[in-house]
Amino acid sequence: MSSIKIELRKEDVDKINEICDSFDNEPLELINILHKTQEHFGYLPAEIQEATASKLNIPVAQVYGVVTFYSFFTMTPRGRHPISICMGTACYVRGAEKVLDEFKKELAIQVGQTTADGKFSLSSLRCVGACGLAPVVLIGEKTYGRVAPDDVQDILKEYQ
């Protein structure tokens, strides 16, 4: 019940206000607003959620409830090279789990985490729809198809 104070840079506050204004500060647009905000900031830390809630005049608990409901939203910054492993059924039956395990082993992080140097982050995602290439791995914008666990080291080397 103590008064909450959050610190943000002016340009960040301005950006959040601009995004909210562009949706007429309409709480119904919360998900679209969060999409835009995450697109800009890369992630949705607590301060940004506070500022968004304050601008939209809704409880921040509600914003947090929404952020934690949808897997697309993240509160941790992603790595410079975000790695996503498709865990769709087609990829799964063609061995995506083993590929994921290999990435975990090589990077020593779990799904949802970022390496200490901020270089890589690991996530699994639902079908990307490239089932013909299963198993599929996305690093940033680049797609790797028919990935075998043995390929993982070589793939990571591209980003050394």
């Binding site: 709480p27 119904l28 647009e29 919360l30 998900i31 679209n32 969060l34 999409h35 409830g65 929404v66 409901f69 949808y70 897997s71 697309f72 939203f73 865990m87 769709g88 059924t89 087609a90 799964y92 039956v93 063609r94 995602l125 639902r126 079908c127 990307v128 729809g129 490239a130 089932c131 013909g132 299963a134």
Partner: protein, 592 residues
């Protein structure tokens, strides 16, 4: 002149390479090597009649060709221009030989209705859509038909929702049309989330206008002026093309006020999903569109009564909408002539898994799994044995050999313990452990459950844990009873469709592959050899030469043995990583 020889996997297995060689040899001998070329092609989708040879440009089609037939084809057809009668395809309906592939439509297994423009038109060019009768259907509706007429056509066409349970589309529209309100909404569910399904994405990327047009038709029918497309944020290309399409349609006045000079006005906006499978459920989808957590609510009230912003809303999925304009253009009689008695038209499937021709296919309802898998799909990859096909994604079940000849439609799939779902079709072979497959789907459900109701939130987690327990070799027969009971209760008591169907992958694998479950719990054995914890690595005495490669490669030093002597794996230490198996050059490591 070209001779096309099918080089698809299953034709290749039946000597298509030899056929091509023979043809080339015959042509060389006749001095025609330069004029007639022999070309290997991809699969014709006719594997059962393979190998096939097609003669271009006259499109003659030969089936079940043998290398020794090459001489006849060259001598008769190439030189004399007379088709070799005995090799022609026989139309099964009348027993006649068919020569041209143009007359062979009947043996092509696929009909493209929802996908009619995908791969033909430039999706970013509205003129190309219009050139293929685009927006003629909405034109027809606003000028010739009343709203009731349109609903009548859709009802009579027999179109059922392609998103899952197959609710009759016309009926849905009718209910929404009867609920009076100054504002109603047409919602397109493009939150395709089944792992292994991508047909909606393909339609939106390849033919976005067909969805826009259909939504307008629906709006006209139910009396809505506003459409919303709820689309996954993970589909950036589809979003981009939809935005372009909406802009172009607005520029032409095909969206907006007074469409084509009529009194009817309709416009469409996009709403983005944010990665929650449960938002495919229509009440959850509506809450998500309202900026809230995508938790479903009890039905009734249905969205047709109280949907987006509490207003009557009609929700259909992408593929359903994509089928609508053609029905208006070509008539309900045409549409309802395709398919089975209770399931009309076609269904798009995303065929994937252990199959040769992974792809997006559209087939008439009533086709058999055998035709899909062994003809269109080109059979099982690497010549393995077919084991099961999973349809309906996490809500569906596994179908087996017994179901291969069952005509596929909404009701037959449900009767077989699966469902149509959105149309993912994952083929599995002998190496796939069905307990693990069930576990895979439950892991997905656990991840995607919204958490609102107890059976889905906790029950699915408990099923997942028990399946894990079983795949680790710790299960008992009593656990199987408990598993089944939990599944039945979750189905019976969950709040929304996600929970009500989530145990299906377990129940259907239990129904069809009980022996595998029993092998896991009583013999502590995984028949498919895929459950790592149940694998046992041993060294075959007769084959081991004592090279020490396995021992050196073992990450946990579980292998002992002197050089040139028999090695031994300590089962207590073994972590079943398989390194020894991979390293042994003498196939002396046995997995069982």
């Amino acid at each position: 002149m070209h001779l096309l020889v099918c080089g698809g996997t299953s034709c290749r297995a039946s000597e298509s390479a030899l056929i091509a060689e023979s043809l080339k040899r015959e042509l060389e001998e006749k001095g025609l090597g330069n004029e007639v070329q022999v070309v290997m092609t991809g699969c014709f989708g006719l594997c059962e009649k393979g190998p096939v040879v097609k003669v271009m440009p006259d499109n003659t089609f030969y089936v079940q060709v043998r290398p020794e037939d090459a001489a006849a084809i060259v001598a008769e057809h190439v030189i004399k221009g007379k088709p070799v009668q005995r090799l022609l395809y026989v139309n099964p309906s009348n027993g006649e030989h068919v020569s041209g592939s143009g007359q062979m439509g009947s043996f092509r297994k696929q009909i493209r209705i929802a996908l009619r423009n995908c791969g033909f038109i430039n999706p970013e060019n509205i003129d190309e859509y219009i050139a293929r009768e685009g927006y003629a259907a909405i034109g027809k509706c606003v000028t010739e038909y009343t709203a009731a007429d349109v609903i009548g056509i859709i009802k009579k066409s027999g179109l059922r929702g392609r998103g899952g349970a197959g609710f009759p589309t016309g009926l849905k529209w009718e209910i929404a049309s009867k609920n009076q309100s100054y504002q109603k909404y047409v919602v397109c569910n493009a939150d395709e989330g089944d792992p292994g399904a991508f047909m909606d994405r393909s339609v939106l990327e390849g033919d976005p206008h067909s969805v826009l047009e259909a939504m307008a038709i629906c709006g006209y029918a139910i009396g809505a002026s506003k459409g919303l497309i709820y689309i996954r944020a993970e589909y950036p290309l589809a979003i981009k093309r939809l935005k372009i399409a909406i802009t172009q349609a607005r520029e032409y006045g095909l969206l907006g006020n007074n469409i084509l000079g009529s009194d009817f006005s309709f416009d469409i906006d996009l709403r983005y999903g944010a990665g929650a499978f449960v938002c495919g459920e229509e009440t959850a989808l509506i809450h998500s569109m309202e900026g809230m957590r995508g938790e479903p609510t009890n039905k009734p009230p249905f969205p047709a009564e109280s949907g987006f912003m509490g207003k009557p809303s009609n929700v259909n999925n992408v593929e359903t909408f994509a089928s609508v304009p053609v029905i208006i253009n070509k008539g309900w009689e045409w549409f309802s002539s395709i398919g089975t008695e209770k399931s009309k038209g076609t269904k798009v499937f995303a065929l994937a898994g252990k199959i040769n021709n992974v792809g997006l296919i559209e087939v008439p309802m009533g086709i058999t799994l055998r035709e899909i898998i062994f003809e269109i799909g080109g059979g099982i990859k690497n010549g393995k044995r077919f084991k099961a096909v999973q349809t309906g994604g996490p809500s569906g079940g596994c179908l087996t050999e017994h179901h291969l000849d069952t005509p596929i439609d909404f009701d037959n799939l449900v009767a077989a313990g699966s469902m149509m779902g959105s149309g993912g079709m994952i083929v599995m072979d002998e190496d796939d452990c069905m307990v693990s497959i069930a576990k895979f789907f439950l892991e997905f459900t656990v991840e995607e459950s919204c958490g609102k109701c107890a059976p889905c939130r906790i029950g699915n987690k408990r099923i997942y844990e028990l399946l894990t327990h079983i795949t680790k070799g710790n299960g008992t027969l009593a656990d199987l009873d408990r598993l089944r009971n939990m599944c039945n209760v979750i189905k019976d008591t969950s709040l929304c469709g996600l929970g009500q169907t989530s145990p299906n992958p377990v129940l259907s694998t239990m129904d069809n592959f009980m022996d595998e479950y029993i092998a896991h719990v009583t013999d502590k054995r995984c028949p498919a050899g895929s459950c790592r914890d149940l694998m046992k690595y041993t060294i075959i005495e007769e084959k081991c030469v004592g090279c020490t490669a396995c021992a050196r490669g073992c990450p946990v030093n579980a292998i002992s043995g002197e050089r040139k002597e028999l090695h031994f794996i300590d089962q207590k230490k073994c972590i079943k990583c398989g390194a020894c198996f991979e390293r042994c050059k003498f196939s002396a490591v046995l997995i069982n």
